[in-house]
């Protein structure tokens, strides 16, 4: 929560004190007008990237995983790096929509919808990679415990299977959360629709929502339950992703701090991505009074906090690697700093831990250009963190005779580019189709939106006294 200088009054969450109808107009504007030029350019770019990725994907399907650079000893590389990266991006959305809701952080209303949408698209993007990494994606049905004529069941001891459950649950719950949040806003769009087709579509999508208080009452409770279960869910998802590595015995992978460390990193990278896009969007759609400077400031503070947690984990890993007295552990970490991939490690540490420390200064937190640069670097740094963990740990393990170096192929790079194209194409389409800020939630936190009195049913005529 942000306060004014006397710490007695919270700063308004929506600036310039607009009327409720002005909020409707401002937020719904992008869905009602013809797309702007900039939107078309952005869509063109991301669709091109998507196309490149699609070609690379087709080649991978046709020729097999041999098109990628991973080979022994680096059996996991870009595919898994991208998977972990995109899953991590999703976590900021759930954090903003669920955890901050539980902590009664009202500023979340301005950015929650948008971040939730990012969660959904990021999880979709992430989900592609493990499936294509199997090499035979048409056999993915075997990941689901369904009776089959081969009489086999899935292996519940495998963390990779936990991933299947975690990611699909995460997607489902995030999608439910996002869609029930949309219902009241779609009801508003229905009532503002001027043409019959739009009205029919919105009527169906809004399920005939009427804003009645009996409905709100159940709605809020269900929303709270979803937030309550999303919070441990979001912890579990990235923890399970971390189990993929940590249950092994490979130095650099097997360390007990992995679960919280991955979660902190995921939130960190997710906030980086949300900030990156948000800075552009609020400017492009003229929503500076709803997604205010205070929002960016608070998000930068969270970035700083999570960056520090990530730094703490790096430090713990190094300290315990030394403290353990295990030569393989020590080598794995020395190899990060001094080995052939030390450039990747340096990028990781500087982008994730050192540069975000600039956010200690209020001036930098509230400067949009500097923030944009830093959050872009955070995205880069967090991608490299996964690269460091996966590739560097694999390329030199116990047996020096089987060391090797990983070189990405053009297919690898195209798939990475394509994943960004996939994500941003969906995001751009979302921005045009649905309100990117939750209108009903923002209205609920404007000044004077909530009643100042608390009453119970009474029969003594029209009451004047206030409780």
């Amino acid at each position: 929560m942000s306060f004014d200088s006397t710490y007695t009054k919270e700063l308004p969450l929506v600036e310039n004190n607009p009327t409720l109808r002005q909020i409707d107009d401002a937020i719904l504007l992008p869905t009602q007008i013809k797309p702007l030029k900039g939107w078309w350019i952005a869509l063109g770019l991301s669709a091109t990237a998507l196309l490149i990725g699609a070609v690379a994907l087709g080649l991978t399907f046709y020729y097999g995983i041999g098109m990628w650079g991973n080979n022994q000893p680096v059996g996991w590389a870009f595919g898994i790096v991208n998977f972990v990266f995109w899953i991590g991006i999703g976590h900021a959305g759930t954090l903003i929509s669920a955890i901050l809701l539980l902590f009664r952080q009202k500023w979340r209303t301005g950015i929650a919808r948008f971040a939730e949408a990012m969660t959904i698209f990021a999880v979709m993007t992430a989900g592609i990679f493990p499936v294509i990494h199997t090499g035979r994606p048409w056999l993915a049905g075997y990941l689901i415990p369904l009776p089959n004529q081969n009489g086999v069941w899935v292996n519940f001891l495998s963390p990779l299977l936990w991933d299947v459950f975690a990611v699909s649950t995460y997607f489902t719950i995030s999608f439910l959360f996002w869609s029930i949040g949309l219902i009241p806003d779609i009801a508003l769009m229905r009532d503002r629709a001027t043409t019959k087709i739009k009205k029919t579509i919105y009527s169906v999508l809004s399920l005939g929502w009427t804003n009645s208080n009996r409905n709100w009452s159940n709605y809020e409770r269900a929303y709270l339950i979803l937030a309550g279960i999303s919070t441990p869910l979001v912890l579990s998802v990235h923890s399970i992703v971390s189990f993929d590595f940590a249950v092994s015995v490979l130095p650099g992978w097997h360390t007990t701090i992995f679960p919280p460390y991955f979660v902190a990193g995921a939130i960190f990278s997710g906030f980086g991505m949300v900030s990156t896009v948000l800075i552009v969007v609020r400017k492009a759609f003229g929503l500076q009074h709803i997604i205010t400077m205070n929002h960016l400031d608070t998000m930068n503070k969270i970035l700083l906090a999570t960056s520090t947690m990530v730094g703490y984990s790096y430090m713990m890993e190094f300290f315990i690697a030394w403290y353990s007295g295990n030569p393989f552990e020590m080598f794995a970490f020395a190899n990060r700093v001094l080995g052939p991939y030390n450039w990747a490690w340096s990028i990781m540490v500087s982008c994730n831990v050192l540069i975000p420390q600039l956010f200690w200064f209020k001036k930098i937190r509230r400067s949009i250009p500097v923030t944009l640069v830093i959050v872009l670097l955070v995205n880069v740094g967090m991608w490299f963190e996964r690269f460091v963990i996966i590739v560097i740990s694999l390329h030199r393990d116990f047996l020096p005779s089987s060391w090797g170096i990983f070189y990405p192929t053009i297919t690898d790079l195209s798939l990475l580019l394509g994943s960004f194209g996939f994500f941003f194409t969906f995001l751009l389409l979302f921005l045009k189709t649905f309100p990117l800020v939750s209108i009903s939630e923002v209205k609920g936190v404007t000044e004077g939106a909530q009643p100042t009195i608390h009453l119970h049913p009474h029969s003594n005529g029209y009451p004047k006294e206030k409780a």
Binding site: T8, A246, P259, P260, Y312, M316
Partner: protein
């Protein structure tokens, strides 16, 4: 707000002194009978006091840092609890004297025969241990003094100046808090088994500490509030966040504990598993299962419904429960190094516990008799009292 300062009843002091006296007697006897056992018990209770003292200081910093208002009316309680920190350097003395009975790595002949201990000796040596302890205590005491001075000055001056100062202090302290707690946990508890290591250990002690400090603050606040020591503005709803946060951190504790256990179980590397196996030996196995039920399952089920979090009675009960649960957790971490054959709890352990509780109550009463129990002129107080659930 409507606040009349009331001194705590004499009963509190009597309880405190009685516990302190009984605990002291039992502890002295215990030292005379079996020094090593007494030292382990003492270490256990020392860590419990670190949890409460330093954890409460961390809570204060968290309130400032997060801009939370709900906890502002109750901040003094945490401040009083944190006031046991200056005693910690004194209380640690028996541990330093009896170090050889506690820590295997302090024996030069053991180190000489053990390659791994030799490797660790740049960290695990007595001089550096002393230096580290000095650093922890200096940091804790320094921040305690600064926080409390600013907070108490505000009672006279009012205004936002002190709040701003404390916010500035909170940011560096949050980092130092995490680091000092982590390394204190390594030094005091992880090095009991000097061969064992876990990167998660600091986080797991942190989780327990935060849970414990919320629990103790909940208990004290509700007891004081119900008896009218915190003024008249406090309603049931004000306690809601205590319940919510205890619930959250209880789950967090379980999450951390489970992750650590599962990863060690799954990888099955002997250099890690032996620590867990020590806690599976003999009756320790039941104690381990009991820990899960006592520390997670029951508090989880009790705190799950919303109605618990607005019921002061239930909150008080579960906060006491969680305090014992944290003591249980620490016992489970520390004592298998002494009771190697099986779980045991006897009069000596009880004595240590009485001593610790006695010290905490006495310090609390001493501080409470000299300061307002509510930060009456804190600018955030009003919005804290206005906390509404919906």
């Amino acid at each position: 707000m409507d606040y009349q300062r009331k001194p705590l009843p004499k009963k509190v002091g009597t309880i405190g002194f009685t516990l302190l006296g009984l605990g002291l007697i039992l502890t002295v006897i215990s030292f005379a009978v079996n020094t090593q056992r007494a030292l382990f018990d003492y270490l256990w209770m020392f860590m419990f006091m670190v949890s409460i003292g330093v954890g409460s200081l961390g809570m204060i910093a968290m309130e400032y840092l997060a801009g939370a208002t709900w906890s502002t009316p109750f901040r003094r309680v945490s401040e009083f609890l944190a006031s046991i920190i200056p005693l910690l350097p004194i209380l640690v003395i028996p541990i330093l004297i009896g170090m050889h009975s506690l820590y295997h790595w302090t024996h030069p002949e053991a180190v000489a025969a053990d390659k791994i201990l030799q490797w660790k000796s740049p960290y695990l040596n007595i001089t550096f241990f002393y230096i580290r302890l000095a650093i922890y205590f200096i940091i804790w005491i320094l921040f305690l003094i600064l926080f409390l001075r600013n907070s108490q000055r505000q009672d006279e001056t009012g205004g936002a100046e002190s709040t701003k100062k404390n916010i500035k202090l909170s940011a560096p302290f949050a980092i130092l808090f995490l680091l000092t707690l982590t390394f204190a946990a390594f030094d005091f508890m992880m090095s009991l088994e000097p061969h064992w290591f876990s990167t998660m250990f600091g986080v797991s002690y942190f989780a327990g500490t935060v849970l414990c400090s919320f629990a103790v603050a909940t208990f004290c606040t509700i007891t004081l509030g119900e008896n009218g020591y915190l003024g008249k503005g406090i309603r049931k709803e004000n306690y809601y966040s205590f319940g919510a946060l205890m619930f959250a951190f209880d789950i967090f504790w379980a999450y951390i504990a489970f992750s650590q256990y599962m990863l060690i179980w799954y990888a099955d590397i002997p250099e890690e598993t032996f620590w867990v196996l020590m806690r599976m030996k003999g009756s320790w196995a039941y104690a381990s299962i009991g820990l899960v039920i006592f520390n997670f399952v029951i508090p989880f089920l009790v705190l799950l419904p919303r109605s618990t979090k607005v019921s002061p009675k239930l909150l008080k009960g579960i906060s006491i429960w969680l305090l014992f649960a944290h003591a249980y957790d620490l016992y489970w971490i520390i004592m298998p190094s002494y009771y190697k054959e099986g779980f045991y709890f006897g009069w000596s352990e009880l004595g240590a516990m009485m001593l610790a509780v006695g010290i905490i109550i006495t310090v609390f009463r001493y501080r409470a008799s000299r300061t307002n129990l509510v930060p009456i002129r804190d600018p955030k107080l009003e919005s804290g009292l206005n906390f509404h659930l919906n």
